[in-house]
Symmetry: C2
DNA sequence: AGATTGAACGGTTTGTTGATTATTCAGAAA
DNA sequence: TTTCTGAATAATCAACAAACCGTTCAATCT
């Protein structure tokens, strides 16, 4: 079984290299098999298909990212706004940098989420869970008190959708995107009503004074 | 000159019928010219090109919509939240219905905003102006008091982007979209901070009592 | 038997050719 | 002269064939 895992790893490694160098579409199963000194047919004893290799690569990478996000969501030395800021900005920057460093990654990402909508959904769900964790932590600390956290998390995702899909960026630079995300974040935290903001500031000061 | 305008109108009418019946791509300039009893070459004395005919049709239709939105933005018998609600929901419903009634409209819309990004930009700008009007009216009535209205309008558009692009709806039904927009709207108005919502309610009651 | 191969199959992509169409413009019509 | 035409042009599209590639599986090897 350890042997089998090693072979899986070899396949993933070879595919990772070829996908990022030539792109998902331009990489053939025969090539990946060749890199691992096996026949194309044999790949199918380890993965159901080409897309599953890509999914495995994406999952591996994404899991690390998720753990990072989870830490940001409950960082002890930051208040709720700072934690949400950290979360959303980390996600924007990761996507932006990945895209800039390797434009081929976009093709692969698009193929996966087109062919396997459940995968894209799973990512959103994970991030939503982290948002819920953030809000629970905020409640524990008396920062926010949100009745339906799951629903609110969904709404936060909806409102920040623009920053998750590079197709919607239309040649915007990272600083412009960051400025816009900062604005949306402020709106989400404080709302449009001005007295709300005043009340919030008062609440923070009261909390700091005690 | 009145003569010329009549011919323009004839061309627009003929194109409108053909575009909505057969689609933008499947309609030829020769056909539109034939409908107006003229040669294809002659169309170019009235419009620089095919896309400009489509743009004229879209502009005409959109202008009516804009006027409607403008009325909603300053409706005297509604408070700021209701006006914003009316605005955003009207926009969502218009897009949804237009799309459901005539899926060909999407092709034309996509072609225009792909080939003429400035047109899509112009529409966003117009709607942003209306949002600013709404906020100015709100300030006049003591409902909101927003420092940088232009920027805030941009942020509201950013946060509600999902509801403006059918490509992002992924098989969602209108009721689901409306429920989601309602949630985002609440978030935008009240913010995540709970004391803000309380303060807002208090402010409304104080305003009603005076 | 279980693991592995590689030829065979069917679906997709690619490349090519012919037709269609937006646009132009020299000249006919008014 | 001004208005309009319709053939000419160049660009795009559609259709078809060939090549390619993911996937399967009967045959081979260990």
């Amino acid at each position: 079984m350890a042997e089998k895992d090693a072979v899986r790893e070899c396949i993933i490694d070879a595919a990772k290299k070829r996908f990022s160098h030539f792109g998902y579409a331009k990489t053939t199963m025969a090539e990946v098999a060749g890199d691992c000194a096996m026949s194309p047919g044999n790949l199918y004893r380890f993965f159901p298909g080409k897309l599953d290799i890509a999914e495995a690569i994406a999952t591996e990478d994404y899991s690390k990212h998720l753990e990072h996000l989870r830490k940001l969501a409950v960082a002890p030395n930051k208040n709720a706004r700072e934690r949400l800021h950290g979360l959303l900005f980390e996600e924007l920057r990761r996507t932006y940098n990945k895209l800039e460093k390797d434009p081929r990654a976009l093709d692969m990402a698009r193929t996966i989420s087109q062919e396997r909508p459940s995968f894209a959904n799973w990512m959103l769900e994970n991030e939503r869970k982290i948002l819920v964790e953030l809000m629970q932590e905020a409640e524990r600390r008396g920062e926010f008190s949100i009745a339906d956290k799951e629903f609110t998390a969904e709404m936060v995702q909806s409102a920040t959708m623009k920053f998750r899909y590079p197709q919607l960026w239309t040649k915007l630079t990272l600083p412009k995107l960051e400025r816009e995300l900062e604005g949306v974040l402020t709106l989400l935290i404080e709302g449009l009503c001005p007295r709300a903001a005043e009340a919030r500031r008062a609440a923070i000061m009261a909390h700091a004074a005690e």
